[in-house]
Symmetry: C2
Subunit: 323 residues, 2 copies
């Protein structure tokens, strides 16, 4: 496919074009930067909601219910679901998503799964890319869902304008609340499965946590939902909208967007530095030799990293290798 | 202090020298690489055990009990405890550790806390550095404890020769087991607080997980402990020793050490690339301008990252900035 045709199909809101474009970015296609050069200026209209929480909190159901709510209000909805990938679990979780995707016959909802194996730091840039494609394709509400397990996932929910942290009663409450506190990323806390015993106690625990914290400006809301029955979803959408109102006040939105830009720039720098330094070394067998030096304790990783970057800078990598 | 004196004090096993040296590395002192150049050749004798698990699983108590076991067997024990740092929780957790450190009057046990706020990727290199200092100072058993929350923590336990994943019954068992499976880092599973109801069920769940996974070589052991009463610690030490025996077989240890070397090299490359590209930009205000370009959608982070790295390579950073 010609690049211009692909870009045109995305801007024309063609589903297959959108899917193909995201796939190219995910694979790290050599045209990645060009694609983004052409798409990014068309974006910036979407409101992005990040949804995170431990496995078993019902995030997918909640995302589905919120998507339905936005559809009913006339929005077009994009969903990016980041799955933990593992030989143990990955298949099953992805399978669920695929069934969910198939059951969604609504042409104005676009669902995309991404695996979260992130050894080279490529996940955040790939998710960023998918977000730009959906935004340019006119999906004006985008939901980004991740299991709140690792740093890579946390980085991704930080792409959102508003981040929901989903908790459920009876799932090691103190641990959940502590972890949410540690992450400090929630704009809205959702207590899902709120028909269960312990909801009151969990809500009180979240309240105490929020009392402890210093909030400059927006105090995170706490909303109870039973996503499987659609209960509390209107209130949740309301809490999200209130956060947007908060962001739209002078001086609120810009710092958040700058923080996001810096985070994404760092991720991109890291991924690109690794790629440009290690790829050639891997090809010519130099990496193996260096790693062996490290294992033998004739070198250490911090020194090798510095030497590699200096040599790379000097454009004379191969002549300046230690060992 | 002169560098030579500091290094000599570490090799002489002087506790204050060890503490000072770790502090310099943690702060990213300009002499970091020299310090490691001088210390790393003296190390390689320690056996390193990583201990990870959710908050509330009793990791610290377990680490304390295992340290006592090793002391009784005549070893010198180093402990590196990585704490989640947060305005909410950091203080309290660190406080516990400090009390634990004070209560340990044994001069042959060295305990060091490190905060885990890791925005610039400096945690893994700092923990690596602390490990080298303790190793060079003759601590021949080193325990590295982290809350198994984020990627940064997972990276750190991967510095170990043997990794323990600590679970407890009744703490969202399926979630714990699923997450442990996703991480795929356990050499030994520890079911702590095994006097509790649900121990049998949790052990069965771990067993099923292990049956599902393909194990090339070493099948992770599962050990029950009640660390607060010292029960099961001998068996745990035995399971760790068995894993070492496994590693000592031909062809077992080298791949693991190579993997660790590569992981640490990547972390060091990432941290150093960020530092060398962003630090000068931050000083001259160029970073702010670039981030603003990104927020305005006149540039995107992947393009900016590539431009910055190319300019950096060409040694002509300031003349090649976009915008």
């Amino acid at each position: 496919v010609q690049l211009q045709d692909l870009i045109a199909s995305v801007l024309d809101r063609d589903r297959r074009g959108v899917a193909r474009c995201i796939s190219l970015l995910e694979r790290g296609d050599p045209r990645t930067l060009q694609i983004l050069d052409l798409l990014v200026p068309h974006g910036g209209k979407a409101r992005v909601v990040g949804v995170t929480g431990a496995p078993g909190t019902g995030k997918s159901t909640l995302v589905g219910a919120l998507a339905e709510h936005y559809r009913a209000a006339g929005h077009r909805v994009g969903i990016i679901a980041v799955d933990p990938s593992s030989p143990f679990s990955g298949g099953a979780l992805l399978g669920d998503r695929i069934r969910m995707a198939r059951s969604s016959a609504d042409p104005e909802v676009f669902i995309r799964s991404m695996a979260s194996r992130d050894e080279l730091g490529g996940l955040a840039p790939a998710a960023y890319g998918a977000l730009q494609v959906l935004d340019a394709a006119g999906y004006d509400r985008i939901l980004v869902e991740t299991v709140g397990a690792g740093q890579a996932e946390v980085d991704i929910v930080q792409l959102a304008h508003t981040t929901l942290v989903v908790l459920v009663p009876g799932l090691g409450d103190d641990v959940q609340v502590l972890k949410a506190g540690i992450m400090e990323i929630a704009d809205v806390y959702v207590i899902n499965k709120a028909e269960r015993e312990g909801t009151q106690r969990l809500q009180a625990a979240v309240g105490s946590l929020l009392d402890l914290a210093e909030h400059t400006g927006h105090r995170p809301g706490v909303v109870r939902t039973v996503a499987s029955e659609g209960r509390g979803i209107t209130e949740l959408a309301q809490a999200v909208a209130e956060h947007w109102t908060h962001l739209d006040r002078p001086g609120r939105r810009q710092p958040r967007l700058l923080r996001q830009a810096e985070l994404m720039l760092r991720k991109a720098l890291q991924a690109e530095a690794l790629r440009s330094v290690l790829d050639p070394l891997r090809r010519d067998g130099g990496l193996e030799r260096l790693l062996d030096e490290i294992v033998q304790r004739r070198a250490h990783p911090l020194r090798v990293a510095q030497d590699l970057l200096e040599a790379h800078r000097a454009g004379a990598r191969s002549s300046a290798l230690p060992g």
